[in-house]
């Protein structure tokens, strides 16, 4: 009787606690704590470093950044912005044109083109740039073959400098425009166009007055996104030797030991990126989706004249070649014997050794294993955090939701270089958040970097899955006597499973390909795959580098395929 009473008293105290409207804050506090420790605190440390520099406190570093005496920094800022703006324009032109051709016209080769058009997404950043230098660089395959073909003194063209960066950006980032534009075009009601035509509008008029205005929201969103990604781009400027960009300046300042300036540059770049993120969120929030009318399938215009047919066939053939070449060249070189390829157009000697070495040679296998391990650890963290955060976001109510949302998205907007600099600033010394350990130089720093960089992936895919799930299903489980945890395990997780898995796979491959942050903070004992590729490149072991690259691409294709199956083709939501 007595024990019974205390038990019930305890229960009532517990239930009073759990019913308090502040109880939810106890539940979500770990989420905020993680964000505080690994996003805000490192950011803050960088900022502190930039104002409390070795040469006295204050805004001295910022004055130096904007000073007109040594203009390297301003030039870098200007070049970054310039590259980004041009990238947005070229990506928009390529992406929207592709979307229109593929969604609106029926021509031979359309099907294959519509699949291959997404190939650039399967290229990890470093590998993508690599293949471009192999193909179009100064000693690239294409310029050299043209030289040989026309018997020229020197190569007719080659990709280098800012042009190279922009071309690579265009190739790798036009897909953002393509995806949003083709979604928008699918949503366009063709009868509007037909109505305009029947009212006597000409083609150009229809474009200007009807189609473009309706695509505007999709275009604005993609422009902001591409601008943000181009600002953060690091690999392309690195490979094409454009030193005057923000990311390269940060890298150089660090390697020259000018840590305060690196911190300053990081802070400024972060502010630019985060303002773009906020603009994007604001714009998406305001934008309405009224145009997603259903049930109307797009009529595809068929090309009638034979001339147009052949022309389109030829053009889509060229398109297919351009899209496939980067992967083909990687595969080709991955079979080449290291050190044999010097002045020939294509590698002269071939071997299977690199692939055999991948799985048999301990030293070659090591980086793969490192990356697998580190990516795995980071992904586990991402799953725990992402699922919990998504559940809290979709299913509970609390003040500070908007803050949580923006905090989770920030790492996505932050350039990898900045993430690395922030982590260095925070964890070169013991802190509470690293359990009083120095993390730099240990195994843990890279998983932490991957965790931070890929924070939004699982969060977003899980949120999307949860949003489609009716809350009453959870209530049904509760009414049948299941407690919260049992319900979560048996009902919520299985129902959101495809979303969780899609995000997990994506986080895993992103971790396997991560280069930008890794290059700044890896230690030789835990060298990741992409850094190994980079080093092999510089040691002229092209074959091994490309074999690594092919492996990465295979993994990504596999993952994309699985997520496509899991989400019934709605994988776009994940990316």
């Amino acid at each position: 009787m007595n024990t019974n009473q205390t038990a019930s008293q305890q229960e009532s105290r517990w239930s009073r606690l759990t019913q308090s409207k502040y109880f939810i804050y106890i539940l979500i506090s770990p989420l905020f704590l993680v964000l505080l420790a690994y996003v805000i605190y490192p950011f803050y440390q960088t900022f502190i470093q930039s104002v409390v520099g070795t040469e006295g406190a204050g805004i001295g570093n910022y004055k130096r950044f904007f000073s007109l005496e040594s203009t390297a920094n301003l030039e870098a800022l200007w070049t970054s912005i310039y590259i980004s703006v041009i990238s947005v324009i070229t990506c928009a032109i390529v992406g929207v044109t592709m979307a229109f051709l593929i969604e609106r016209y029926e021509f031979p080769g359309r099907k294959i083109l519509s699949i291959l058009v997404l190939v650039p997404m399967a290229l990890p950043p470093l590998v993508g740039v690599l293949s471009f230098t192999f193909l179009y660089g100064e000693s690239g395959i294409i310029p050299r073959s043209l030289q040989a073909l026309f018997n020229l003194e020197s190569v007719p063209f080659s990709l280098k400098g800012i042009t190279g960066v922009i071309v690579v950006h265009t190739f790798t980032m036009y897909t953002y425009f393509y995806l949003t534009a083709s979604a928008a075009i699918k949503g366009l009601d063709p009868s509007l166009e037909e109505a305009a035509t029947s009212l006597g509008s000409g083609r150009i008029r229809i474009w200007v007055k009807v189609i473009l205005p309706m695509l505007t929201p999709a275009m604005v969103a993609s422009s902001l996104l591409v601008f943000m990604i181009a600002m953060a781009s690091y690999t392309a400027p690195l490979m094409f030797g454009v030193e005057r960009t923000m990311t390269m300046q940060i890298y150089l300042s660090r390697t020259n030991g000018n840590l305060d300036m690196a911190a300053t540059q990081s802070t400024i770049l972060s502010i630019v990126s985060i303002s773009f993120l906020i603009m994007m969120r604001w714009y998406q929030g305001r934008r309405n989706f009224q145009n997603q009318s259903k049930g109307i399938s797009v009529h595809r215009t068929e090309l009638r004249t034979p001339f147009m047919k052949y022309l389109s066939m030829f053009l889509s053939f060229i398109g297919v070649i351009i899209l496939m070449l980067p992967i083909l060249v990687l595969v080709l070189i991955s079979f080449s014997v290291d050190g044999e390829w010097t002045i020939q157009i294509i590698p002269p000697a071939y071997t299977l050794d690199h692939y055999i070495a991948l799985f048999t040679d301990e030293r070659t296998w090591r980086p793969i294993w490192n990356s697998l391990q580190m990516s795995f650890v980071a992904t586990i963290g991402n799953i725990l955090f992402g699922v919990a955060a998504a559940y809290a976001m979709i299913r509970t109510r609390f003040k500070g939701k908007a803050l949580l949302d923006i905090l989770i998205m920030i790492p996505w907007a932050l350039p990898g270089t900045v993430v690395a600099v922030n982590l260095i600033a925070a964890f070169s010394e013991p802190s509470v958040f690293s359990f009083n350990q120095v993390l730099i130089g240990t195994f843990w720093i890279l998983p932490l970097a991957y965790f931070v960089r890929h924070l939004p992936l699982i969060f977003r895919s899980t949120s999307a899955a949860l949003m489609q799930m009716d809350q009453s299903v959870e209530e049904a489980a509760r009414s049948l006597g299941a407690n919260w945890w049992y319900t979560f395990r048996r009902v919520v997780v299985p129902m959101a499973f495809s979303g969780i898995l899609a995000g997990t796979l994506l986080a895993m491959v992103q971790g396997l390909g991560e280069f930008v942050a890794s290059i700044l903070i890896y230690s030789t004992s835990t060298m990741p795959l992409s850094v190994a590729i980079f080093q092999k490149m510089y040691a002229f072991q092209f074959g091994t580098a490309c074999a690594y690259g092919v492996l990465q691409i295979l993994l990504i294709i596999f993952v994309l395929f699985i997520s496509q199956k899991l989400t019934n083709g709605k994988a776009g939501a994940v990316i």
Partner: protein
């Protein structure tokens, strides 16, 4: 089988009103219905009984146990949701077994109970089906079996028929009633459909804008509506307003307008308004309480509209400046046309005085 008592329960959503001062006492084994238009607070009340909302004020008791803030999973309730809320990743069998697994019963007991429940709802052969391979009506029966198999003390149903088409709705309605009578479980049923409420319930609570209007058996609610709202919401009614001209014992004469005088009797057993000569009063006359021919409360009017439904002939009749709905049972009598004049009468019992 338990009783459910709501003791002056109110629920606020922030500053918005959910429901106010609900006091009910559902007897063990009773079929109790919450009826009212959309947004009147039926779901809110039901969810407080289920434990998904906690009352802002007041208490809830199952038998004599205070469950006001008890977790929903500790209440031993069975609940059927409007959209069924079945687990899409489980089969029919697994759905029904869910609550038993939570209760940690042995595999063999679970199997036996689930199979019995499947039989009960005529889904014996469907155990291995996926949920999306069932029709709406079958899904509804799975939801019902899942709620009943745990032998709940109280069964809660929130508009369980609203997603079914008319034919299935009737079938499932009978099915639910049959199961309820067979198992004798205390049942609380939410609906905005008065036919469902009238045909199934032992008692009905009529609500409007979060406030209880009347609690009573279907007959009471229909024959003795507590107010204007109940009279017009349940069934059809001619609502008239007039001036009391004479009171003799329980007999009351009312002048609606110069051409329409009505005489009725006060119902001494019901809650009736205080009447005084010269004061305004509201009264309700059901269309079926008006008869064709000669009798008390004789009326003469012109037919405005004729509707033949098979069972009955419905007329709209203009009497003086009022329009009355009249329903005549079809016994093969001659159907009048628009513009014809008609003689009608209303027995004194057909006139019911109502509160504001």
């Amino acid at each position: 089988m338990k009783s459910v008592r709501l003791d002056n329960v109110s629920k606020m959503f922030g500053t918005a009103k959910g429901v106010e001062h609900v006091a009910i006492d559902v007897k063990p084994g009773e079929f109790f219905t919450f009826l009212g238009p959309s947004g009147c607070g039926k779901t809110t009340t039901l969810r407080m009984i289920a434990g998904f909302y906690y009352p802002t004020k007041g208490k809830i008791f199952f038998d004599n146990r205070d469950v006001t803030t008890l977790q929903p999973n500790k209440r031993n309730i069975g609940m059927v949701f409007q959209n069924y809320a079945l687990f899409p990743h489980m089969t029919v069998f697994e759905n029904i077994a869910f609550g038993l697994e939570v209760r940690k019963l042995s595999k063999s007991v679970i199997k036996e109970k689930v199979e019995r429940a499947q039989k009960l709802v005529h889904l014996d052969k469907y155990g291995n089906r996926k949920i999306n391979e069932l029709s709406g009506g079958q899904q509804q029966r799975v939801a019902l079996a899942r709620a009943l198999v745990i032998e709940p003390d109280i069964l809660l149903l929130d508009e369980p028929l609203s997603n079914l088409d008319a034919k299935l709705r009737e079938e499932t309605r009978l099915e639910i009633k049959r199961l309820q009578v067979e198992l004798g479980v205390t049942t609380i049923y939410v609906t905005h459909d008065q036919t469902e409420a009238m045909t199934m319930s032992d008692r009905i609570m009529v609500m409007k804008e979060g406030v209880v209007q009347q609690i009573g058996s279907p007959q009471e609610i229909y024959n003795k509506p507590a107010n204007h709202f109940v009279a017009s919401f349940i069934g059809e009614s001619n609502m008239l307003e007039g001036e009391v001209t004479e009171i003799r014992g329980t007999a009351v004469k009312v002048k609606v307008d110069s051409d329409l005088h009505v005489e009725g009797v006060l119902d001494t057993e019901a809650d009736q308004p205080k009447l005084e000569v010269g004061k305004k009063v509201k009264l309700s006359i059901r269309p079926e309480a008006i008869f064709e021919g000669q009798g008390p409360n004789q009326l003469h009017g012109t037919i405005q509209l004729v509707e033949f439904t098979g069972v009955s002939i419905n007329y709209l009749v203009k009497v003086g400046s009022s329009i009355l709905k009249v329903m005549i049972i079809n016994k093969g009598n001659q159907i009048l046309k628009r513009g014809d004049s008609i003689s009608l009468y209303v027995p004194e019992k057909g006139v019911y005085f109502i509160n504001e």
